[in-house]
C-alpha cells in the first residue's frame, strides 16, 4: 500500500515521474492548497522499491511492506 499524506505533498510530481512502474497518476482536480496531488492508482504494479519515498522532498510518502488485501 502507498500512503500519501495530502497535508505534506506539494504536488511536485517527482514521485510520478520517477516511479519505474507508473504507479502514480496525475489528479485532475486541485486540492485546497491549489495542488495536484498524485494518485497512487496502479498499486498492484508497485515493486516496493521505495524510490518514491526516498525522492519525495516533503516526506509525504510511505510504501507499506505488507499488503493486507
Amino acid at each position: 500500500m502507498i500512503k500519501l499524506d495530502p497535508n505534506l505533498c506539494k504536488g511536485c510530481n517527482i514521485c510520478m515521474e520517477f516511479c519505474p512502474k507508473q504507479v502514480y497518476e496525475q489528479s485532475k482536480t486541485l486540492d485546497r492548497k491549489g495542488v495536484h496531488i498524485p494518485i497512487p492508482k496502479n498499486q498492484d504494479k508497485c515493486s516496493k522499491c521505495d524510490l518514491c519515498a526516498l525522492m519525495c522532498p516533503d516526506q509525504a510518502i510511505k510504501v507499506e511492506e505488507d499488503d493486507e488485501q
Partner: protein, 287 residues
C-alpha cells in the same frame, strides 16, 4: 511494529515544523532523505550526531531534524563544527551547507578543514546558485549560465568542488545528484563512517532560481538535465576533456586513511600533560 501512515523518515523530523519551507520539488528535502538513509545504513545513532549549518535554503535543513544543531552565520558552519569536534571528539559532526555558504564566503574554512583532515562530514548541496537571496551567481555556477547578477550569462570559470577539496587534502570525497538518491545515500554512509574530513557534493535542483533563469522551470526539467548529463567517474576517466564539457562527473573520488586532526590533538595533549584531556567535555557535565 509501530503502525503509522507516515514516511519512514518522519521519526527523525520535527513534525511540528512541517511542511518544510522549501519550494515544491526543491532537492533539499531529497538530500535530507538520503542523509537519513545513509545514517541508517551506517548504523549511526542520531543522538550522537550534532549538525551545523550556515545560511541559505540548504542550511535550513538541520532545523527540521530531531538532533542538536547549530544554525550559524553565513559561511562559518565548518568553523563551529570544528569547535564542536574538538570539544567532544566522540561526537559525530555533520555540516549541511550550500555552494555559496561553503565555497564563496566560507571557502577558506572549507579548504583548511580539508587540509587538517578533521573528522567532519560536510554535505554541500550544490544548486549552482544563491537560492535564498534571489538567484545570484555562485562560485559553482557553470560558465554561460544566467543568474540575477549575470543577465548576459556568467563568464567566470567555476570551482569544481570535488577537485578543490581533494587538492586541499580531504580524505573522503564523492559527488552524486538528486537523481541518484541511492548512490548518494551510500556515499553518505561511507562519509559518516570515515575517520577524517569527508565531503559530499550533492548536486541539486533550485528550479525557482537556477532553473527559471536557465530554461529549466520545473524540478522535473532540472532532474532530467542532471540525469542526461551525469557520467560516472569510471567512464569519465577514459574520456577526453572536450567530451566532458558541461557534464557532471559523479562517483567516489577520494577514499584514503590519514592522520585525523582531533585524534592527533588529543594524543599530543596526552603526551605533553600525561593525561587524556577532558577539560572541555567536563564543562558540559556539571558536577
Amino acid at each position: 511494529m509501530e503502525e503509522t501512515n507516515e514516511s519512514p523518515f518522519m521519526k527523525y523530523l520535527r513534525k511540528d515544523r512541517l511542511p518544510n519551507i522549501f519550494c515544491a520539488g526543491c532537492g533539499n528535502g531529497t538530500v535530507l532523505n538520503t542523509f537519513f538513509k545513509g545514517m541508517e545504513m551506517a548504523e549511526m545513532d542520531l543522538n550522537n550526531i550534532n549538525m551545523a549549518s550556515g545560511i541559505g535554503c540548504s542550511s535550513r535543513i538541520p532545523g527540521y531534524v530531531k538532533c542538536d544543531s547549530l544554525h550559524t552565520t553565513h559561511g562559518r558552519p565548518i568553523s563551529f563544527a570544528t569547535g564542536l569536534k574538538l570539544g567532544n571528539p566522540n561526537m559525530d559532526v555533520v555540516v549541511f551547507t550550500g555552494d555559496g555558504d561553503a565555497a564563496a564566503i566560507g571557502g577558506n574554512h572549507l579548504i583548511h578543514a580539508a587540509r587538517r583532515n578533521i573528522d567532519l562530514t560536510v554535505i554541500c548541496i550544490n544548486n549552482n546558485i544563491y537560492g535564498m537571496t534571489g538567484g545570484q551567481i555562485s562560485p559553482t555556477s557553470p560558465q554561460g549560465s544566467y543568474g540575477s547578477t549575470a543577465p548576459y550569462g556568467t563568464f567566470e570559470k567555476p570551482f569544481d568542488l570535488v577537485e578543490l577539496v581533494s587538492g586541499a587534502g580531504a580524505t573522503y570525497v564523492a559527488r552524486w545528484t538528486t537523481v541518484h538518491p541511492l548512490q548518494l545515500a551510500n556515499a553518505i554512509k561511507k562519509a559518516l563512517k570515515h575517520k577524517g574530513f569527508s565531503f559530499i557534493e550533492a548536486v541539486s535542483q533550485c528550479h525557482t532560481y537556477y532553473g527559471r533563469k536557465n530554461k529549466m522551470k520545473s524540478p522535473l526539467d532540472m532532474l532530467k538535465w542532471m540525469e542526461d548529463n551525469s557520467i560516472n567517474k569510471r567512464k569519465a576517466d577514459k574520456m577526453d576533456p572536450e567530451e566532458l564539457a558541461g557534464k557532471l562527473i559523479v562517483g567516489e573520488f577520494v577514499n584514503k586513511n590519514q592522520a585525523e586532526y582531533s585524534q592527533e590533538l588529543y594524543n599530543l595533549i596526552e603526551e605533553k600533560s600525561g593525561n587524556r584531556s577532558k577539560s572541555i567535555k567536563s564543562a558540559y557535565m556539571g558536577d
